[in-house]
Amino acid sequence: MSRTAISVGAVGVIGALLAIGALLPSWLLFLVTMAASHGVVSLGILLIMRGGLVSFGQGLFFAVGGYAVALTVNRWGATDALVLVGLGGAAAGLVGAITGPLLARYSGIFFGMLSLALSMVLYGILVKSTALGGSDGFNIPRPTILGWRLEGASGDYALYALAVVVTGVAAWLCAIYTRSVRGLVTLAIQANPLRVEYLGASVRGIMALNFALAAVLGGVGGALTVLALGHIEPTFAYWTQSGEFVFVAILAGPRSVSAIFAASLVLELVRSFSNLYFPNTWQLALGVFLLAVILFLPGGIGSLGQARIWRRPTKGRDLAALRAGEAAE
């Protein structure tokens, strides 16, 4: 797909989702808002995963973005959602830019464990900070958009629209980035980092950049979540939360940006309904579902759409993406 095709597609999907949102029942609206806000964090993992690394500590950026927003609201009274989302992304991006070069020196399990350790350090600090609500966290009031206070059903829709537009734009930028030279070199790093170094590209530099971008996405996700939820607590940085982000990335597979959001939505839906129908064994139901996906769909949800392209003659236009898919496996 060319850039124009991607852009047209992105605008179309965002517009369609905005229209569908007006018809959705309010519980589903909130669920999709959450799925989108969490999905954008997993999108960050996708960027890193394409380079052959898995970060088990995206909860760090999720929490940094969330706390930055929540504290700004409570301490300085800023309420504009657009400003706050930007702030969440910037705060997490700053942390990512500092930790990125350090982490990019490691590979494989060492990278994963170190990122996990950093997020758990933040978790430990947050739990002990009584000024930040300790382990119980604290609440924030509903935000505003351009001076308009988000309340009731229209407020729910506005938060949904905000989540859809922000994550949609993020996904669009990621789709373009993954097809850019740097994005494709990331795939080459996964295949053979040594050869990439010999080609004259800096593996560390590219991975540090990917990591910082993932951090920004994590912060944006945290900010969107806090704005819709109205509550934040240290579990945002806990390893189970980070694990969930990784899980969504695996569920989606490394091929497709849009599959991330589909996976995130499916996870939320399965969790919600299994929780209702099997209140005693919902974790079991969730586990069986995950196992089934891993067994029968090892390429993730993204491989459903891609398989069709696979069988069709590719006409050369999508050769790069196809190679990307091969390399990813």
Binding site: L28, N139, T235, P279, A307
Partner: protein, 440 residues
């Protein structure tokens, strides 16, 4: 992997399924002859065995009795004012984000008329504004943090149990009235909000009642630590007259099982703010003479009333174990809701009450529960105060169970702050306005 072949059939039908499922679920209509009640409690995770599952069993027993109309007066009307109660149980495990989402699903997808739930303080803090935002009726039945109504005001949210301040104030008053010598005391609490808050309340209470007592070891193992070897050594080294702890559930059991063989409780008086829920499972492993609270006049410390006999004996017959804290607390929430629904129906001509009517009826209300009288006196009539009891443990080999003796009951206003005063300020000011034994 080369293709997604076996799942070709999945592609379009999945989407269709998802949409038809969504459409189907929207059709769930609101029935007029029943009262749909969401009940959220821990069914898995560390708090399930201690609080969540007893609460579920308590709710099932009480709802069964109410729907049959066989509860004692004044609760002998069928269901809630003639409306059959239809419970929907949801697991509280999974964190605050999930709870807010599931609360919305209960109100908006399942169309419940009210929700009773939440044991964890973090969950309570997170869901209260969500219910308020949706303008739907919510009762918090167990969580301990005083922050909920001290930091914010709500119209649709109520808590039908006293917050954690009374547990520690009552412990201090009990020790004082029993002349327990406290020259020094050690503390071990979990490193999260509950442990920190309990410790702060206990220390402040001790400063008032035992101004000369010296705090020594202040240990904060992490939540769910399970291994307390180091802490027990530290406690044994820093010999003190009293060992105070707000540990609960599996952590408390592990601590007692590991500390008792090392003789820790032979030289120090063990004082526990919430321990009745571990008595059935610990049995003879529970040290004798420990001073324990139950977060209310519950279980083996419950008062002798016809209402309590109905609940205690009925629950025991159904579950083969006596009811503990969680079961009592959900019962007082359900009975309070019943009183509010019936009061609202009296005023609106027998229709099912709206959340606004329910909230108006619940505000400042009072009712009898198996654990004593509940009064919605704090937080502008949204936060309950209740009586509490403290007792001492003794294993009775003949009955093969731990019994509690030397029980002292405290009136609600003796151990709870007055309205418009933060709990910690009230303790530090020397309990102004406290009424004990009818005297101030």
């Amino acid at each position: 992997m080369s293709t997604g072949m076996p799942f070709r059939w999945l592609r379009r039908p999945t989407l269709a399924c998802a949409f038809s499922l969504a459409a189907l679920l929207q059709g769930a209509a609101q029935a007029q002859d029943s009262f749909k009640l969401g009940i959220v409690t821990f069914l898995s995770g560390p708090a399930a065995e201690s609080f969540g599952v007893p609460a579920r069993h308590g709710a099932e027993f009480v709802i069964g009795e109410l729907n049959k109309g066989s509860a004692p007066a004044p609760y002998n009307k069928v269901g809630f004012g003639g409306l059959k109660i239809e419970p929907v149980f949801v697991d509280e495990n999974g964190g605050a984000t999930k709870q807010v989402q599931e609360l919305r699903n209960l109100y908006q997808r399942e169309n419940v008329d009210a929700v009773v739930g939440y044991i964890s303080s973090g969950d309570c803090l997170a869901v209260a504004p969500a219910a308020e935002e949706l303008k739907r009726f919510l009762i918090l039945f167990d969580c301990g943090t005083p922050r909920i109504f001290e930091e914010a005001q709500y119209k649709y949210v109520f808590r039908t149990a006293a917050h954690a301040t009374q547990d520690n104030v009552a412990l201090g008053r009990y020790m004082k009235s029993r002349n327990v010598k406290v020259g020094t005391f050690n503390m071990i609490n979990q490193d999260y909000a509950w442990g920190h808050d309990s410790k702060a309340d206990f220390v402040a209470t001790m400063q008032q009642l035992y101004p000369d007592a010296k705090p020594q070891a202040d240990l904060l193992p992490k939540f769910g630590a399970g291994q307390y070897g180091t802490e027990i050594s530290a406690l044994a080294r820093e010999k003190a007259d009293v060992i105070y702890s707000s540990l609960w559930g599996g952590d408390l059991q592990a601590f007692i099982l590991q500390a008792a063989p090392r003789g820790l409780f032979q030289n120090s008086q063990l004082v526990l703010s919430a321990a009745d829920h571990v008595l059935p499972s610990l049995g003879e492993k529970m040290p004798n003479g420990a001073i324990i609270g139950a977060r209310g006049a519950y279980g083996l410390m419950s008062p002798k009333t016809p209402l309590n006999d109905w609940f205690f004996n009925g629950y025991q017959a159904q579950r083969n174990v006596w009811p503990v804290q969680g079961a009592y607390r959900i019962t007082q929430a359900l009975l309070g809701l019943k009183v509010a629904v019936e009061k609202a129906m009296e005023q609106n001509g027998g229709k099912k009450p709206t959340p606004e009517q329910l909230a108006a009826a619940m505000e400042n209300s009072e009712w009898e529960s198996p654990g004593g009288k509940i009064q919605m006196k704090l937080g502008n009539g949204h936060q309950a105060i209740q009586p509490i009891a403290i007792g001492r443990t003794r294993y009775d080999p003949a009955k093969k169970m731990v019994i509690l003796e030397d029980i002292q009951h405290f009136e609600a206003e003796c151990v709870n702050p007055p309205a418009h005063m933060k709990s910690i300020d009230w303790i530090k000011a020397g309990f102004p306005g406290a009424k004990c034994d009818g005297r101030t």
